[in-house]
């Protein structure tokens, strides 16, 4: 060939690399990733860390003086900490312990919150594990669909689920209608702990099932076969080989469930009322009463507890992470065996019972909501509730909640926040999948929005950027709607990270290195090689971001106060207090819109790793 390598045969040959404008672009490209990273850091700082900082400051600065008095009062208040308050007030631990096991113990708001979170975690694991067993170990028609359906609760707006459960458990709810039909008396589940726990299980059991199934599927059949060949029976092989690999995933599901349910808001607000208030609900109430210092202090206490649980889990995870690649998964058994043994029958019976319970838990709220939306006060089918929404849209006063602005706002906020969350999430995924010192810290800082309550973020944004900040003599204030988009983006981008990062992590490094050796800048490799290969994860992340925004209630309800920046979930909440019918009708609208984003996940996303 005529072209020898440059510099040897033809040392004076013109450089066949790019000319000047192209070189300039190369330089920009080279900086692109750093620029995006800086932008991500800036967004996080302005709309997440700064607001949280504002709240923190507010909790320790009273009338211009730094004090821990608010915290001290909080910790010693039995209203918040129950018997534990006596511990903080200086009483001996034994007396407190005795009071705790006594019949008339008081848990306080914080204690109750932890208690219901623990119960919800147990319920979620109990409901999630059989599903994981079914999905990981059995083959049946529709298995893949069912597996992908386990992400539905994630994208379902919590306020909508709450409405669904109100429609199920309410005095005239489907449950009591059914019980009445078979001659049983009405049961009162509204505003009970049971209702809250069931609703939490609805949300979090699929999460447990999902992470556990993934771990179970990554158990190498070869390892089990080796154990069997060495003399272990099926149960022993399960306990020695399978269980240790599945167990960390269960723990992860449990830890996340605890954190999520500890910070629960819409479900308790709708199902528990203020009688069964959790910390988050109380923070909201305090903030609404303009008692910001106490609200901030309480939010900080909540944050500390959440982060402690999450931190403990992450420490555990760091020590127990097993990465298995290229495994041959355990073969699945047919759900309907051709020649069933008695053991087979028993297993299937158990799974059948479980299926019934699961169907009740997962389908009841949706079905009830849809039913309630087309049922009139007299029990007859009617479209009155939808008509009400249309009428309200036509004739509603300015101060009233109208449906179309809610739908429009939800869609606009969702699109805008996804546009922000997507590049942020991708950048964080890239930055956290590379190996370097301090990566863990970056990971923690970037993933904190996962664990921080929406009320806290909303409150911080409201008190800071929305009310206005003085910067060098300029008053900077952002519109409530911009703050909502920011809050949604911050809530959504960790999901983008979680769907994109596992794919990036599993990419062969030599692909990236090959591309770089061929002349591609780091940003170019991301565009040309990495993102196309993890595309399903990116699309799924985008769909998550949209769905999270669509369903986000907590921060939105704080920020939408007074403004007309209300979204569908906020509209539902405003309806729910007065009349259930329109709330359920609005819920169905939300269900349809959110369902579309699920379709996007399914259609474009396909299979992806991660949550």
């Amino acid at each position: 060939m005529s072209d020898g390598p440059r510099g040897r045969d033809a040392p004076d040959a013109p450089d066949h690399r790019r000319d000047r404008p192209a070189r300039l672009r190369d330089r920009l490209e080279r900086r692109a990733l750093a620029g995006l990273t800086a932008a991500t850091v800036a967004v996080l700082a302005v709309v997440f860390y700064y607001p949280i900082g504002t709240v923190l400051v507010e909790s320790v600065v009273v009338d211009g003086a730094v004090t821990l008095g608010v915290f001290a009062r909080l910790l010693r208040d039995p209203f918040y900490f129950g018997e534990f308050a006596r511990l903080f007030a200086g009483e001996g631990p034994i007396a407190v312990a005795r009071a705790l096991v006594g019949p008339d113990r008081r848990l306080g708001i914080v204690g109750f919150t932890a208690y219901q979170a623990a119960l919800s975690t147990v319920a979620s694991v109990a409901l999630g594990l059989p599903a994981a067993y079914l999905l990981a170990r059995f083959e049946f028609p529709g298995r893949r669909t069912l597996r992908s359906l386990t992400i539905v609760p994630f994208v379902l707006p919590s306020i909508m689920v709450a409405v669904g459960y109100v429609a199920t458990f309410g005095r005239n709810g489907t449950l009591n209608v059914l019980l009445g039909a078979v001659g049983l008396g009405p049961v009162e589940l509204m505003f009970t702990l049971e209702a809250i726990v069931i609703a939490h299980a609805f949300y979090n059991a699929p999460l447990v099932a999902r992470v556990t199934t993934a771990a179970w599927e990554s158990v190498d059949a070869g390892a089990v076969e080796t154990a069997r060949s060495l003399g272990a029976g099926p149960l022993r092989a399960f306990l020695d080989v399978v269980a240790p690999q599945v167990y960390p995933a269960v723990l992860m599901g449990a830890a996340l469930t605890f954190v999520f349910t500890f910070g629960t808001f819409p479900i308790v607000l709708a199902l528990g009322g203020f009688e069964l208030a959790t910390v988050e609900v109380f923070v909201y109430r305090l903030a609404r009463d303009l008692n910001y210092a106490e609200a901030a202090a309480l939010a900080v206490v909540e944050l500390v507890i959440s982060l402690t649980v999450l931190g403990a889990y992450l420490r555990y995870e760091a020590r127990h992470t097993v990465t298995s690649r290229g495994v041959r998964p355990l073969p699945r058994r047919p759900l309907v065996p051709s020649a069933p043994t008695p053991g087979d029958v028993l297993t299937r019976l158990g799974l059948g019972v479980y299926g019934g319970v699961a169907a009740l838990v997962f389908l009841a709220p949706i079905v009830s909501m849809v039913l309630a939306s087309v049922t009139g006060g007299d029990g007859a089918l009617t479209l009155d509730h939808y008509r009400f929404l249309l009428d309200r849209q036509r004739t509603g006063a300015a101060f009233q909640v109208r449906p179309w602005p809610a739908v429009r706002n939800s869609l606009v906020f969702a699109a805008a926040s996804a546009l922000v969350a997507l590049p942020m999430g991708v950048v964080v995924a890239v930055v956290t999948t590379r190996r370097y010192r301090g990566r863990k810290l970056v990971d923690a800082v970037a993933m904190a929005p996962f664990a921080v309550s929406g009320i806290l973020v909303g409150l911080g944004l409201l008190r800071g950027l929305v009310f206005g900040v003085e910067v060098a003599g300029w008053r900077i204030a952002v519109a409530g709607s911009a703050a909502i988009v920011a809050a949604h983006a911050v809530a959504g981008y960790p999901f983008v990270v979680r769907t994109v990062a596992p794919g990036l992590e599993s990419l062969d490094r030599s692909l990236i290195e090959s591309a770089r050796a061929l002349g591609a800048s780091r940003a170019r490799v991301l565009r040309d090689v990495e993102l196309p290969l993890v595309w399903p994860g990116v699309v799924a992340g985008a769909a998550f971001a949209v769905a999270i925004s669509m369903g986000e209630f907590t921060a939105t309800v704080v920020l939408a106060t007074g403004a007309d920046a209300y979204t569908m979930p906020v509209a539902i909440e405003r309806f729910i207090g007065r009349r259930l019918g329109p709330a359920t009708a609005m819920g169905v609208v939300l269900l349809v819109v959110t369902g579309l984003s699920f379709v996007v996940i399914e259609r474009l996303g396909g299979e992806y790793d991660g949550i």
């Binding site: 390598p5 066949h16 290195e513 090959s514 770089r516 061929l518 800048s521």
Partner: protein
């Protein structure tokens, strides 16, 4: 063999000076000095963990050295990212982009630089696929190719932008032995045709010997010997090299004669020992190996040691299996046959001599105890330590 070229006058294309790389205290590469010449096929060979791949990655720019300097054509390239170094890299697993066709893979580098020779990118891709003997595969999916074909596509992709330097990181080790032999000839042929400076990493010493102009045998992060394959094979510079490159028998002993020897009194120069009738010739020294005296030629052109070892010096030398003759009575010893491997063309016989393990090559398997000996000229002295050094 027979293809190697050691043109010391060629300009230096890549220079490593005092290059070290540590990861969290663990040393991957330590004080490496290498000069790779223009157009040379240079191979880094050594056992796993010897630092050969790290050295290649330092040259490619995937890693930055913790100490020392890497120069291309005399220019310090520290801080220059891989995309600025104009290198072509082929990995063991080929690393073809699975979402691109074969043609898109080969053409990827042409998105960032114009094809050399003034041809269009499409033309260049066709040229390269012809070069690696895969014409007409441009629209194929990489997944549809065999391992050897993928390896050639990876080669074409690396060469397409006309790199100054080709870096091959164990490109054959995922292939079966026969295919590997054929491919390495092809790689060598392409390298010759383009005259491109090439750095090749392999753990397979046979591969290293067969294709290289020069070989660097690495151990524990440092090259132990850098020389043409024949020299490395015939005149290993260290016991490690002697034993890593091909089968070898390494002996350690003490130069006999003088005050510690049999009273010859003349030093080692023309030393003979009469005891068992062994006879050294001019240029040999008698060496006492575990009580047996063996004659070893010294002062050869490529010997690691210049000058003549003095009596009492500790000496290490080696004799290749094919030079250790079974049945030779003089300059030898009797050893026990321990096992034999039939290799087809020859049989590799393992012998025990005292606590030493030796290897010889024979036509037929052996049994019992056999006499083995060697021509002193076929012994290569690896090192000599004078008594003054050791005491």
């Amino acid at each position: 063999m027979g293809s190697e070229r050691d043109d010391a006058s060629a300009p230096v294309a890549v220079e490593l000076e005092g290059v070290s790389k540590r990861y969290d205290g663990a040393v991957a590469v330590e004080g490496v000095d290498l000069r790779i010449r223009e157009g040379e096929f240079f191979t880094l060979v050594g056992p796993s963990g010897c630092g050969k791949t790290t050295t290649l990655r330092l040259i490619a720019g995937f890693e930055e050295p913790t100490a020392g300097t890497v120069r291309f054509d005399g220019r310090d390239v520290s801080g220059v990212p891989p995309e600025g170094r104009n290198v072509g890299v082929v990995f063991q697993n080929y690393a073809l982009f699975p979402h691109m066709t074969v043609g898109e893979n080969v053409g990827y580098g042409l998105r960032f630089s114009d094809p050399p020779g003034g041809v269009s990118p499409a033309e260049r891709v066709r040229e390269l696929l012809d070069l690696v003997d895969l014409p007409g595969t441009a629209d194929r999916d990489p997944e549809s190719l065999s391992g050897g074909q993928r390896q050639r596509v990876a080669m074409a992709r690396a060469l397409a932008p006309g790199p100054d330097l080709l870096l091959l990181d164990e490109p054959m080790s995922a292939l079966d032995a026969r295919l590997r032999e054929r491919l390495r000839l092809q790689v060598r042929g392409i390298q010759r045709e383009l005259g491109i400076t090439t750095v090749y990493v392999t753990h397979d010493q046979e591969e290293a010997l067969s294709v290289s102009d020069r070989v660097a045998v690495m151990r524990d992060g440092t090259p132990e010997q850098v020389a043409p394959p024949r020299t490395v094979y015939r005149r290993p510079a260290s016991r490690f090299v002697a034993e890593f490159v091909g089968d070898n028998n390494v002996f350690e002993g003490v130069v006999a004669g003088g005050e510690s020897g049999d009273g010859d009194g003349q030093g080692g120069r023309n030393g003979t020992t009469g005891g068992d009738g062994n006879r050294g010739g001019p240029g040999t020294v008698p060496v006492d190996v575990g009580g047996t005296t063996l004659h070893v030629a010294v002062g050869g052109r490529d010997d690691a040691v210049n000058g003549v070892p003095a009596p009492g010096d500790r000496i290490t030398f080696c004799v290749r299996p094919q030079h250790l003759r079974v049945g030779r009575g003089d300059n030898g010893f009797r050893a026990d046959v321990e096992s034999a491997e039939f290799l087809g063309e020859t049989t590799r016989v393992h012998l025990g001599w005292g606590d030493r393990e030796l290897v010889v090559r024979t036509e037929d398997p052996l049994r019992g105890t056999v006499a083995v000996g060697f021509d002193p000229a076929n012994a290569h002295v690896i090192s000599v330590a004078s008594t003054a050094d050791t005491s």
